[in-house]
């Protein structure tokens, strides 16, 4: 993305630079913690214990990571096509709306029909909401960045209206739908694993995690093992070469955006179908934006995205636990870390690459 690429060994490129930016971001967060008069080391210990110190904590961590896998993959797929989809929030909202309609209309259906259909509806809703900006860019030349931002807000007002007027729970003052039919929701992980003799404490972790892991694999397969993925990467890396190869950048733009939006729809699956069992306002809760950090850190590769999602899962769950013990440190710390990471791993990538390259060079000449 930077103008003058700085050559680095591959291991430094894929591992060292992201790690250095994570470390720097955590350092900034540590400074904030010091700034509000707390001990960052203590906070870190509390956080790690909260996130990984118990089966329950791990369950919550993985539940959050599920969200980040979906939103991170959404951003990553668009990145590969050279597109910046910052509409994950809106696409997840649209997915939630489509899924709510499907669930509420499927009360007659047995679970093995209702659940897949609900998931498909979510994917379709997200895909549609992302396809619109993709189409607008491909055919009308309007930039996806601005249109996805605008559509985030349109989705946000649309869901308010729908929850109040159309699919809202009758008689409820809360902006939410009635509960989805009991057979049309995902199974919590502790129930899913109980038959195998695994006794887990109840957590929001549910079978959407499996869907997320499947998505990781599917995206890897799509990007690196299919003809479509080849076309997507070609358009992203060199649109002229794509035209030379007979690949239509317009078609790829639309398809990649739709896939990206469908993946963002996974957020609705985990939250609404997996945990809340109904659609509530603001269920996206900023996960879509953190997905940008996840994708940037993971260098767009599913393995990286998975690891980065896990990191953010730890931060989220650990942050929640931490805020019990230290009310001064709220979970918004994760948003700060996300923001700093996006800055460091994304916009200041050139600076960090230069730093790493400098250190490597001096290490080599010193040895």
């Amino acid at each position: 993305m930077s103008a003058a690429p700085i050559e680095l060994p591959r291991w430094a490129d894929v591992a060292l630079v992201p790690l250095v930016s994570v470390a720097a971001a955590l350092l900034v967060a540590g400074l904030v913690v010091i700034g509000i008069g707390e001990n960052p080391l203590e906070a870190t210990a509390l956080m790690l214990r909260g996130a990984l110190g118990s089966a329950e904590g791990i369950g919550f961590t993985l539940y959050y990571a599920t969200n980040f896998i979906f939103t991170g993959l959404a951003v990553a797929v668009a990145f590969h096509a050279g597109l910046f989809n910052i509409g994950g929030e809106g696409q997840a909202t649209a997915a939630g709306i489509a899924m709510a309609f499907a669930c509420l209309g499927l009360s007659w259906a047995p679970g093995f029909i209702a659940v897949p259909l609900a998931i498909l509806a979510a994917a379709a809703g997200g895909a549609l909401w992302a396809f619109i900006p993709g189409w607008l860019q491909a055919k009308r030349g309007s930039h996806v960045v601005i249109t996805t931002i605008m559509l985030n807000f349109v989705a946000a007002t649309l869901i308010v209206y729908l929850l109040r007027e159309v699919i809202g729970k009758p008689g409820s003052m809360q902006p939410e739908t009635p509960d989805f039919p009991a057979q049309a929701v995902l199974t919590p992980m502790h129930q899913l694993l109980a038959p195998f003799g695994l006794r887990l404490p109840p957590t929001p972790l549910n079978s959407a995690l499996l869907l997320a892991l499947l998505s990781l694999f599917a995206v890897w397969l799509l990007i690196w093992r299919t003809r479509l993925g080849y076309a997507i990467r070609t358009v992203g890396a060199n649109p002229r070469a794509a035209a030379y190869a007979g690949i239509s950048p317009a078609a790829v733009t639309m398809v990649a955006m739709a896939i990206s939006g469908a993946l963002a729809g996974g957020l609705a699956v985990n939250e609404a179908l997996g945990v809340q069992h109904r659609l509530v306002l603001d269920f996206t809760a900023g996960y879509g934006f953190v997905g940008i950090a996840v994708a940037l850190m993971g260098r767009g590769h599913p393995v990286g995205v998975g690891l980065a999602a896990l990191l953010f899962g730890v931060l989220y769950q650990g942050g929640a636990e931490l805020s019990f013990d230290k009310p001064a440190i709220t979970r918004d710390m994760v948003v700060v870390i996300g923001g700093v990471l996006i800055l460091f791993a994304g916009a200041l990538d050139g600076l960090f690459r230069r730093l790493v390259a400098g250190v490597l060079r001096s290490g080599r000449s010193g040895a």
Partner: protein, 511 residues
């Protein structure tokens, strides 16, 4: 009358490298004050780099600049402007949304408030307009002006800053002949006023028409300084192209076969509306190499791109195997399926994906080939095996399909592209600049491959700015100038001088 004036510009031993590429090698140049001095050379000869150094856009790695006898350090355009140098870039440095007068004062506004500066500039523009006959509306928006008028604004910009030395980089590339004549009249008027003009061009006619002296550059070096009156277009053409030790290739005569690709009346315009192809027609037969000779930027690139389906012509008909190609068929993917392959001129920008592994680049355009995987899937093992085989056959080094494309040298990148396009037995092969930036050993290899292909009955269209290459490989040579075909010669009957004249647009009837 008085003692002779010091040269307006003296460059001594200027060198500049961009990474591994030496753009200027120990270049020296002396330009007499009050003269029009031409600098000729092919694209990539280093003319523009040299002028960018003089204008402070880049700093030279070594060398000295003297202006009017005084050594100067020019580290930024501001330094150059202060030294009295003005430059008209090939791509105009104008802000299209601003008015003429706003463009003229930019950087020389004369005060924080614009009003006064604009009024002064308006008056000065009127004066300059009258002095040189450069009529222009100071309040017109630059984007609305014709290219010729935009160039006038660029010149006025330099004059407004009091430039005594004016550099023009390929100024006629975008002008109509009538506009070019007006420009030359202006340059002569400037000379009369004692200004010094440096004219960078690759058009020999212009050099002969308007300059007093001419310097020739080739591959980053200054190879000749000549008085215009004492030289001729053929001599210049020879100096430009150079007499490289020719790698003679065996070219047994061969009967040409049936027509495979025919084009009639192709016309094309670029985004600016300039005509790039004017009524171009040609026929390619099986088993022949047709070479296009021309100085870069005379429509050869567009011809290749139109034939390859990358741009659509405004007019004209293309037949492949006797069948007229409909618009929908003129798509690179469809054409490939029908046996028309293309080695693009600029492999870095369109022939390869630098970020991909070499194996992946080696299937660009053929990603749908069932050989590389079942259904929608691609199998890396097959892609790598395919690359390994191709790299062995074409001696690509290192023969490592997993290595990033960008890590290969120019010659090896070119071999990757050639292997990809040739191995599928094309009916027609379009080849652009096959040996640009390629080392000598690889050049020979590539030439032999192309000839072998011709002997196997493939129709080849070769575009190259290397005249020697065109002459060595082609069975027929077509010369292009200004988007037009200016002549055709059988290879046996062609000689460099003759072709040089055709490339310069000097056709039989005009001479």
């Amino acid at each position: 009358m008085t003692q002779p004036r010091a040269p307006a510009i003296e460059l001594r031993g200027i060198s500049k490298r961009f990474g591994a590429v030496a753009a200027n090698k120990d270049v020296s140049l002396s330009v007499a004050a009050g003269s029009i001095h031409g600098i000729v050379g092919e694209n990539g000869a280093g003319k523009s780099t040299l002028m960018s150094i003089l204008y402070g856009f880049y700093e030279a790695d070594a060398g000295e600049i003297r202006i009017a006898g005084e050594a100067r350090r020019i580290r930024s355009p501001a330094d150059a402007i202060a030294a009295g140098i003005g430059m008209v870039h090939q791509h105009f440095m104008l802000v299209e949304t601003l008015s003429v007068v706003e463009n003229v004062v930019l950087g020389a506004e004369g005060g924080a408030r614009l009003g006064g500066g604009l009024a002064r500039a308006r008056a000065e523009l009127t004066r300059l307009s009258q002095q040189y006959g450069l009529a222009i509306d100071p309040d017109a928006t630059v984007g609305d002006l014709s290219v010729g008028l935009q160039q006038r604004v660029e010149i006025l910009k330099a004059l407004y800053r009091g430039a005594g030395i004016l550099i023009l980089d390929e100024p006629t590339a975008v002008l109509t002949p009538a506009e070019a004549d007006q420009l030359f009249a202006l340059l002569r008027a400037l000379r009369t006023q004692g200004k010094t003009v440096i004219l960078i061009t690759h058009k020999l006619r212009e050099i002969m028409d308007v300059t007093d002296a001419v310097s020739v550059m080739r591959r980053g070096e200054m190879v000749a300084h000549l008085r215009t009156a004492a030289t001729s277009p053929p001599e210049l053409a020879e100096a430009m192209v150079g007499r490289r030790v020719l790698l003679r290739v065996e070219k047994p005569p061969r009967e040409r076969g049936t027509p495979v690709l025919e084009a009639v009346g192709l016309c094309c315009r670029d985004a600016r509306g300039t005509e790039t192809l004017r009524d171009v027609g040609l026929t390619l037969h099986a088993g022949e190499i047709v070479g296009i000779a021309g100085v870069a930027g005379n429509g050869q690139s567009e011809l290749l791109e139109v034939l390859a389906g990358l741009i659509q012509p405004d007019r004209g008909v293309i037949r492949l195997d006797g069948q007229i190609l409909a618009t929908a068929d003129r798509d690179p993917a469809r054409l490939r399926e029908r046996g028309l392959m293309h080695v693009p001129e600029d492999r870095q920008r369109s022939g390869l994906v630098a970020a991909f592994s070499a194996a992946e680049s080696a299937i660009l355009g053929y990603q749908h080939d069932p050989a590389f995987g079942a259904g929608p899937l691609l199998q890396p093992a097959r892609i790598e095996a395919h690359a390994r085989e191709a790299f062995a056959a074409y001696d690509v080094r290192p023969p490592d399909p997993a290595l990033k494309t960008a890590k290969f040298s120019g010659g090896n990148q070119q071999k990757i592209v050639l292997a990809r396009e040739i191995e599928r037995r094309p009916k027609v092969l379009l080849v652009g600049q096959p040996t640009r930036g390629v080392d000598i050993g690889a050049i020979e290899f590539i030439h032999r491959r192309l000839l072998a292909l011709r002997d196997a009955g493939v129709a080849i269209l070769l575009v190259s700015v290397e005249l020697e290459e065109v002459m060595a490989l082609s069975d027929r040579i077509i010369a292009m100038c200004g988007g037009r075909i200016t002549g055709e010669r059988a290879a046996e009957a062609a000689d460099e001088r003759d072709l040089g004249l055709l490339m310069a647009g000097v056709t039989g009837e005009a001479a």
